[in-house]
Symmetry: none
Subunit: 262 residues, 2 copies
């Protein structure tokens, strides 16, 4: 009657290295028939690629076990009967939108503009193109695949999709719909995929995007001391339901705190 | 006992073409000894160049007749005893900051980052460079030369400095100090240059940056149907004190509404 949501990067792996015990933990939940989902903001990998990546760490997963911003965006678009979309996402993410009709000419009618992090592909020309679509179609929905501020590349900190969305919101006067962490709707989409449960627990490394945001959505939240975690995160005033050294300790914590009989 | 503030681009000219009647209108105010200022967010031209540009349209003006964001920014920096600045402005604007010490290496200490509209020079690399200066110097002031959302180029609407500032504020967590429209302080700087008046009227093409913002500062605001104006602007809920087809009708409106005897 309970379920677990796993963040990926920083919880199950860091870059290309698995966190010790990650596979054992996921397999423990599978063996005990506890429902689980992988909840990630990544838009640089499709779900098929994520399946392959986890397999490389000894973690079995199906495509349907992942909830990513593109998947949540697709669900939102369908629920709102939107078919004509302009897509500004990394190539790896395009396949998640194969059911939709792509509008590439900025003068044509568009019902929604979907934006992910384009990384080095961000140019002033692209920003202007998106802006013109929005201003020419005032009813257009602006869908943001997450609102991450920045990330750490090998050459230093780099702006992520969040700042670009802020720029476009301000220029167009259209507020974005965010289908990714930290949006409450993203966690609600996970809850509705899991079905009604007594206890849903999120485990993550990001004190704001994982912990604060999932608690706001009514979930329990477990902070790990891996990934982007820093001890100063605990001075933020956000109080996780538990703090674990890593995902390896989760089964032990689960038995003590969530279900006594598994 | 009244005064007029003229926005430039979209009111007196569009790109390199004068709006019909613009010179006659400005000359009418001059002839009738009505105090006026040119209030522009442009940072692509220095005041000397603006004098020359207006002269080409038959409009006489002195350098002191212009209040621009770089001029207001320079005043703000001096008042706050700031000397080391990182400057991201068009070349033409650099001369307004010749009294300051420029920091060009992002690792060196910077007291303020001054940002104007870079137009086609906006690149993702530049955005990241500015972001890294801000994140490496958390006490740095972020000075925005205006918060204009967009402007009309010959190839279509183009993002202006405002959206870029929003992106940088969100990424860095630092709020900008705005020395340009729509900041109330910018209009107050104009009012203090004009001296006490019964009626100060702003005429502009931007429903937010000119009309809403000047009304907020206690001015009367006249919207023109030229430049970036679109009929949908009137659905914004902002109510200009008058709407004119162009600046050519201003003297007639002025005589009927501001001063009966001129």
């Amino acid at each position: 009657m309970s379920a677990i949501l796993f963040d990926l990067d920083g919880v199950l792996y860091e870059s290309d290295r698995a966190i010790d015990g990650a596979a054992d933990t996921v397999n423990w939940f599978r063996k005990n028939h506890i429902r689980h989902l992988f909840l990630t903001n990544t838009t640089s990998k499709s779900r098929s690629e994520l399946v392959t990546k986890l397999a490389g760490f000894g973690i079995k997963a199906k495509k349907e076990d992942f909830l990513t911003p593109p998947v949540a965006a697709g669900q939102w678009l369908k629920k709102n009967n939107i078919n004509n979309i302009a897509l500004f996402v990394p190539d790896t993410t395009r396949e998640e939108f194969s059911d939709f009709n792509f509008v590439s000419n900025e003068k044509n009618h568009t019902d929604a503009v979907v934006i992910g992090d384009l990384g080095e592909q961000w140019t002033f020309a692209t920003m202007n193109k998106i802006f013109r679509i929005l201003i020419n179609n005032p009813q257009t929905k602006l869908i943001a695949l997450g609102m991450t501020r920045y990330w750490k590349t090998t050459s230093g900190l780099q702006l992520d999709v969040g700042p670009m969305i802020k720029a476009l919101e301000y220029a167009s006067g259209i507020d974005a719909i965010v289908t990714g962490k930290p949006a409450t709707e993203f966690f609600q989409a996970a809850i509705s995929l899991l079905g009604e449960k007594d206890n849903i627990v999120m485990i993550g490394d990001d004190i704001r995007g994982d912990i604060e945001a999932s608690q706001r959505a009514g979930l329990k939240a477990v902070q790990v001391r891996t990934g982007k975690f820093s001890e100063s995160d605990l001075a933020s005033g956000i109080i996780p339901d538990a703090i674990l050294n890593s995902v390896a300790s989760l089964p032990e914590w689960w038995q003590a705190n969530i279900s006594i009989h598994i």
